[in-house]
């Protein structure tokens, strides 16, 4: 084909013997009427340079060159022009070498000195044609491979006899989707089932039963590729029936839908993320509303406190007046009644103060504090109360607790309240146990009954304080209400019902956690958790 083209055939002659080279050129020119272009060089180095710069239709190569000898000459040149056909020029004594070179990829060899111009042209033209055919074959092969690589579906068919699959045949792309060759399925009759993802096997079995029963429905499931990766496939079976409507076989299309599934999963994750942030937004909104409500209640409480405290002042001063006037009478009943009245007034005042503390939108005065130190000073404040109620104190305070950022005054007051609560729970004496420790959490903790996400996550390092009493414990039905304002289990007049509500607010402000429960051995336990700064 190259010879019929109008473009001149471009021939590179690599021959160190100048006489041989020009003889070759003359012989070829004489035997050929169409124009041909010749370039000659005597060394391999130069030939390589020429091949890199220009395109030649054919190379005529002498294997014995000053800079290269033997078969080496061929292979070293071919690397530089893999697409160009090479014909070897050999001496009469080394035809064997020529044969060897042909095996290594040379198009042909001719023995120098026996050259007939016409024959040589024929050899050249065949070499060019063969080369061109080989190239287009290679290109086709590559295109086919690319095409096969892009196929992610394969067909298979199954032959059924008496309700049983007796043979199957799998399409070529099967190896692409599953990693297994068709013959591997032939050899191992259970492979089709074993390669299915364990969790999806019941579904696949069910589908197989349905198919044999004459009902073909597509199914999406996972399978484990031979390389161990998980693939999603869609299996669409089509039934073949005989005239009696018996299943005699089925064809199936297996489509690799892994990418689609991954995209679906990504979408689902994105939607879940969105929902989560929406939920977080809702929680934040609730918190804001709660904060606004607290502020309004706080303003109202302050107003009410002022208005109630003034009349209380009148009552208390009046009582003081009476008690001063009457105590000289030595009437014990009067003193008793007056005392009760005074206590009632003080109680009303305590409730108002508690309400103010509770609703006060507080800011914290955070400083690094030694938790054990705060526990000790709070214990000092309740020491009298302890001995008065015959309560024994037990402490298990961890040494080397790292300092924690806390509002010292508020936390100390919190401890005092918790200790007094515990003491109040043991009217007949008992044991107050106070423990502190540092702990790495193994699970995420959430506020009891809170909509908020947990403040403490598995892996966090936290300081924990536990206050335990050996009293009667908290009735189970009351456990979820202990932090509600005005909820108290104490006898009327003993508590304001605000102590734990304030405790919870204080701990919340610190970003900590407070939990209350009953001990298995009896009595209640209050656990506080504070984050330790990294």
């Amino acid at each position: 084909m190259a010879l019929t083209a109008t473009a001149p055939v471009k021939v590179l002659i690599v021959e160190d013997n100048a006489m041989d080279a020009s003889l070759l050129q003359v012989t070829l020119n004489r035997a050929h009427s169409d124009p041909a272009e010749f370039v000659s060089t005597g060394t391999l180095g130069e030939a390589r340079g020429l091949l890199e710069r220009e395109r030649f239709d054919i190379v005529l190569l002498d294997l014995s060159l000053p800079d290269s000898q033997g078969l080496d000459t061929f292979s070293r040149l071919q690397i530089h022009a893999p697409e160009t056909p090479i014909i070897l020029l050999t001496g009469q004594d080394d035809e064997a070498l020529g044969l060897e070179a042909v095996r290594a990829g040379a198009q042909e060899y001719v023995v120098k000195g026996t050259l007939n111009g016409k024959i040589l042209w024929r050899v050249i033209s065949y070499a060019i044609e063969r080369n061109s055919l080989r190239r287009s074959l290679r290109e086709n092969e590559q295109r086919y491979k690319l095409l096969l690589g892009a196929v992610t579906d394969y067909l298979y068919n199954a032959k059924v006899e008496e309700g049983r699959v007796v043979s199957t045949a799998h399409g070529y792309a099967c190896v692409k989707v599953t990693g297994y060759l068709s013959r591997e399925f032939d050899r191992d009759p259970n492979l089709w089932y074993r390669m299915v993802h364990e969790e999806d096997r019941p579904l696949v079995l069910h589908q197989a039963e349905q198919i044999l029963a004459g009902q073909a429905r597509p199914l999406e499931h996972r399978l484990i590729h031979k390389d161990g990766s998980i693939r999603w496939v869609r299996h669409t079976p089509v039934l073949r029936m005989d005239e009696m409507h018996r299943v005699i076989g089925y064809d199936g299309l297996i489509s690799d839908i892994t990418e689609r599934k991954q995209a679906e999963e990504a979408l689902q994750n994105a939607v879940a993320d969105l929902l989560q942030s929406q939920e977080a937004l809702k929680t934040a909104h609730l918190h804001l509303m709660q904060a606004e409500k607290m502020e309004a209640v706080g303003r109202m409480a302050a107003g009410i406190a002022h208005e109630v405290k003034n009349p209380l002042q009148i009552l208390l001063t009046s009582l003081d007046y009476f008690s001063r006037r009457l105590s000289s009478e030595q009437d014990k009943d009067f003193d008793e009644v007056l005392n009760e009245m005074r206590k009632a007034g003080q109680r009303a005042d305590a409730i108002i103060n508690g309400l103010l503390d509770f609703t006060h939108t507080e800011t914290l005065d955070l400083k690094t504090q030694d938790i054990n130190g705060l526990i000790q000073s709070a214990l000092a404040m309740v020491r009298h109360n302890l001995s008065f109620n015959h309560v024994v104190l037990q402490t298990e305070l961890a040494t080397g607790l790292p300092p924690v950022a806390l509002d010292g005054l508020k936390i100390e007051q919190l401890f005092i309240n918790l200790f007094n609560n515990a003491i109040d729970a043991m009217p007949h004496g008992g044991a107050l146990t106070v423990k502190s420790r540092i702990e790495q959490l193994t699970q995420t903790h959430r506020d009891q009954g809170s909509r908020q996400p947990g403040r403490f996550y598995a892996g966090d390092t936290v300081a924990i304080v536990e206050v335990e009493d050996s009293g009667g414990g908290i009735p189970p039905e009351a456990l979820h209400k202990v932090f509600e304002p005005f909820f108290t289990t104490k006898i009327t007049g003993k508590g304001t019902g605000l102590g734990l509500a304030i405790a919870k607010r204080t701990v919340d402000l610190h970003g900590g956690l407070i939990e209350i429960g009953n001990r298995p051995q009896g009595g209640a336990i209050c656990r506080l958790m504070f984050n330790i700064q990294k």
Binding site: H306, Q313, I314, T317, D320, Y321, R324, G345, D349
Partner: protein, 147 residues
Amino acid sequence: MSNDLNGGIVLDERSGPAVGFGTTDRTEMKKIKVLIVDDEVAFTNILKKTLELNERYEVCVENHPRLAVVTAREFVPDIVILDVVMPGVDGGEVQAQFKADEVLKDIPIIFLTALVQHQGVLDGSTYVGKPVGADELIGAIEEHFSA
């Protein structure tokens, strides 16, 4: 406000009256003249009666804060018990008027108010929260006259 007072000095709780009644020792001493400025008429009346059960105190009541300075000039108290939230003129303004007055400027003032929950000292003034018992109030007064 109560928060500001948290760090303030908390006066000792008195277990009984700081000053006894009618003891000959006390009556021989010079009386302490107490001016109460508070718009709550019932309270001032009863507080006056209560304090005056102790002969150590001579009490004058002024229910109109605007007239506080005039009354004080006339009565010349040793100490003033001053409400904070009052109609027209509040306790802070009354205090300013006292400070601006040559004669009254050094008279100690105890603020008695429902605005604070704890007793304490703020900017050099004693604050006592309502409601307060007579013993506690007397304690706060006597703080200024102890040797």
